[in-house]
Symmetry: D2
Subunit: 347 residues, 4 copies
Amino acid sequence: MSISVAVLGATGYTGGELLRLLGRHPEVRIAHVTSERYAGKPLRQAFPHLTALPELICRPLGDVHGVEDVDVAFCALPHLASMREVPQLLARSMRVVDLSADFRLHDPLIYRTWYGTEHLATQLLAEAVYGLPELHRHAIATARLVANPGCYPTSVLLALAPLLREEWIDTSWMIIDSKSGVSGAGRSASQDNLFTEVEGGFRAYKVEGHRHTPEMEQELSLLAGSDVRIRFVPHLLPQSRGILSTCHLRPRVVRSQAEWQETLRTFYRDEPFVRVVEPGSWPATSHVRGSNYCHIGVAVDSRTGCLTVLSVIDNLVKGAAGQAVQNMNLMFGMDERTGLEQLPLFP
Amino acid sequence: MSISVAVLGATGYTGGELLRLLGRHPEVRIAHVTSERYAGKPLRQAFPHLTALPELICRPLGDVHGVEDVDVAFCALPHLASMREVPQLLARSMRVVDLSADFRLHDPLIYRTWYGTEHLATQLLAEAVYGLPELHRHAIATARLVANPGCYPTSVLLALAPLLREEWIDTSWMIIDSKSGVSGAGRSASQDNLFTEVEGGFRAYKVEGHRHTPEMEQELSLLAGSDVRIRFVPHLLPQSRGILSTCHLRPRVVRSQAEWQETLRTFYRDEPFVRVVEPGSWPATSHVRGSNYCHIGVAVDSRTGCLTVLSVIDNLVKGAAGQAVQNMNLMFGMDERTGLEQLPLFP
Amino acid sequence: MSISVAVLGATGYTGGELLRLLGRHPEVRIAHVTSERYAGKPLRQAFPHLTALPELICRPLGDVHGVEDVDVAFCALPHLASMREVPQLLARSMRVVDLSADFRLHDPLIYRTWYGTEHLATQLLAEAVYGLPELHRHAIATARLVANPGCYPTSVLLALAPLLREEWIDTSWMIIDSKSGVSGAGRSASQDNLFTEVEGGFRAYKVEGHRHTPEMEQELSLLAGSDVRIRFVPHLLPQSRGILSTCHLRPRVVRSQAEWQETLRTFYRDEPFVRVVEPGSWPATSHVRGSNYCHIGVAVDSRTGCLTVLSVIDNLVKGAAGQAVQNMNLMFGMDERTGLEQLPLFP
Amino acid sequence: MSISVAVLGATGYTGGELLRLLGRHPEVRIAHVTSERYAGKPLRQAFPHLTALPELICRPLGDVHGVEDVDVAFCALPHLASMREVPQLLARSMRVVDLSADFRLHDPLIYRTWYGTEHLATQLLAEAVYGLPELHRHAIATARLVANPGCYPTSVLLALAPLLREEWIDTSWMIIDSKSGVSGAGRSASQDNLFTEVEGGFRAYKVEGHRHTPEMEQELSLLAGSDVRIRFVPHLLPQSRGILSTCHLRPRVVRSQAEWQETLRTFYRDEPFVRVVEPGSWPATSHVRGSNYCHIGVAVDSRTGCLTVLSVIDNLVKGAAGQAVQNMNLMFGMDERTGLEQLPLFP
């Protein structure tokens, strides 16, 4: 099989990561890359680390409409730009993995509340599949349009999915304290993300409310079978990659740490990319760096009854480009792991 | 005034930080420094950054007993070592600021539970004053023995002290998610704290329970007027200095963010080292690096009712050596700020 | 004494560092700070770490002309902007410490060659004093206009000054391999200096020629008594502060390492801010972080005859703001060390 | 083809990197891993990032002698340990890629001078092939014993090999100023390599002479056809991976930058892992991180005549484990690139 792919918005970090993975995927041919900033220039000017790929010339976004024979387009565009582009791509019979937030929320009112703008392609919302394979594998396989999850939601949903059943957890008071590497903020010039501002400068941000919240609540509510609200507080780590989410939960049942661990282990028994760590060890972002793996750990504090679930992913891989490739694999009937089994880079 | 000081355990990070501050304190003479590892050698071998100080020769711990005219000893020894040493120092009429955990807990049973050993100087527990000036300023002034608080507890107690009154907060479910720079782990050779293991490797640790917990509960219970238990989860940041504590609380009263902020601001109105940040900005560890300041921010999430209080300190300064000097200033009747007004180093 | 100072360009890193030092200088009153970007806003918005200073409101640059009673202005403006401003400041009887490159070069032709523009205030070039106190202390004391040296030149000139006499060194082949922290690149938003681009991404830059070269050659030629040309290659370190310059020299005389070390030590015997490190240890940027100190080490390679001199400074302190304050101290007849004896921050 | 491999010393950083690469090599079966420290324990305890590999149990070094059917052993042992082990492995008909320094130097006297001990397997020195494929590809293919080059020498030899011909360069005065990430120092607990000591603490080390020097001189002399001595000064970067070597050379011929660049480009035209960067850009360690690629740049300074060659590699990949796998590929008649075409991880 040879799948012909386009990457729209190729010169941001998510775009670069898509090319790193797709460039070595055994069944993929990169047919088309777009970048407004580097239009007409070779991709290696934007990304010297990709020099070993066959030469790719960046083209302006509009050019994609004249391209023939693209099987699947990866949209690594900002939200708003994505929902303008996706309908046209579908109309040209491409399948689409959209990495923006534009098709993740089923309810356009919630979109408007959090993104401050009307949704321009509501006709696609019913069709778009939320692209977390561990939850929606079958729907993804046949989807025309997959909405690739946000990085924080991926880490949080994988941590919580096995637990939101049978009222094991008090869903009225779930605290998610997440920490992300700064690549999540993108590659645009910005004073806030200068090395000098970030090094040694751990901080919280969007404490008043982060846009990934409704996406998590949508999926958690589906899992719980009832409306769930969470308190989500993100922080910015002085490192490029990695998300660690610490989920503070109040269980309604009494179970030992070993039992909770077994629950998680059972849930993920057949998953190729999710691992529950050994008792006595805890996940670290460096243990998944550059890979599509997710590591999860769990602890019970017998003094307070608090249940703590910790999960780590690489925000650019399982939190973005790797998951997008996993979705593509599913959409084209391939083994989900194809091109994604690189081991993490440590140290 | 010239106060003659001894620093016991001078070649760890806390010891080095004490010498950095005391070496420029206008009323202090450093009379004696001890280090087992560097005994007989000049201090600048352990700390080339302190080369500009007048030459100090490290001496073995035992030598302190032959020293005359030391007004105050700073004990930067490990726990256990401290409680063996402190009674002898007091017997020689020195006043003592102890930076270990040995005299922070009033109840020796709780000490045994968390530290796994009997307390060897229980006769001093009633006398020792918990050295957080913002809470115990008057008792510190006359104390012979001050137990300098732990770094995490300092950050957490300053965040919560203004709120634990009049049942504003549900004290049955307090989540403290803290993140610390790696200097808190000390200067001993260790594989876990190698640069290669820490860089890009954010992780939680002691998730099953950290020894700073009972110290926080003791002081929070005093403030609340009832027994308080907290869930405390510490994490290790890829940076040398700084603690940020994110306190997730459930208020029992309905107040706006501005009102909570005003509550904090009023509480700390006259404090020289605690600042409540402006609305719309959040504390960052780099804003207090190298200084004795603590910055605090507060947010209310109207969707969930959750109250979030964020505080940052430099773990080696306000969380250790700076607070110790602040305590000394109080003990000797000086302005609390003396020698401590260095501005933070940014970037 | 109370000296009234203005800081022009207060919200860049050099400006912030000037305020950190001047804000705790015992003889200084900060009368005026300018910033185009933050005009009308409190300085603490630009620099939350300076919140503990009395409130300062940023004003636009033009306002300085209406200010009375400023004794000395620190210009932390870009080159070009500086040479437009400085003549007016002098005309208003202020003394000036200029931190740009505009008054460092005596020869306006060399300025044009390297900066690509005509010099607009050539009448001041003869009068401006190159502000490296270790070389020009006496001239600085009486200067109206001091040109504060560049960060790289400070590190290189302190390393080489003691050696460029009596033809000890072959001045026809001097290699300077320097490495700087990224704060030297300033605080403007830039893709190149994002955390993600810098972390783990050590690289050289301006390999074809860096503008600090002629400034070094001017001063080295004065020291050598003949025209000196150097090969200078700068590199960018993944850390915020610090410069280390490795100077590779070919000596014309045969001397032991101990003898070279003694030469350096003798030269700097009475200097308050320059230290020659002990034999067997080497300078590290962390040993001078946040301080005005310079550490120097020297090695002879008997196999090749090569002489290596290593020097470290904090680029924002001894390489910029600290040296500017040192110059001000000299200009106003104070002890050179006033307000500058903070010890380095380690770790 | 399925090659059965053993990795001796599997739980250091080089061992871990070998397993990362070999674990995804399509023609390799990992038969045996040794570690004294983790003997009897699963490898994932030492390296949680390798959890996705099939379970491997670490065995003590001695066990290798009872193992059947190992085709090739990778020795990631310290020097001295290696030369004790290698003769026995060869005697058991294994082929060996030795990653220590023990078989790199042809002359046992030079070994004794730099390593301070007698060589114990001099009978193998004539047979061992210096495993830099770009120079010794054919000899490697048939070798029983390949001595994998040091990390610094790999970066330096690739930079200089194209230039040391026809007396283009003055070989009497070659300055190599190298900078390495701290993973080169290994995984043993050490105070010097703690995060706190390394962060922000760039420094030189072994300025008096580093053991990689004779290895470089041996190969450079072969290339030049005459005895070459170099001045080599290594530095330690605050990052985990990457080496950048800045080679300062004095050419004996006058050529433009474009001509030198063309010389390098021609030399490496058919090399799969070496790239000469575009004019106007410079190599960065982040552009090769996690990969087997080497990027090289060249500059001529017309003012001084100095020629500067810059090269970057990942010290653990092209500087160690990747090169070892490249050598194995050659030894077993495979395409040299097999299992090594992972693209660099950026950011």
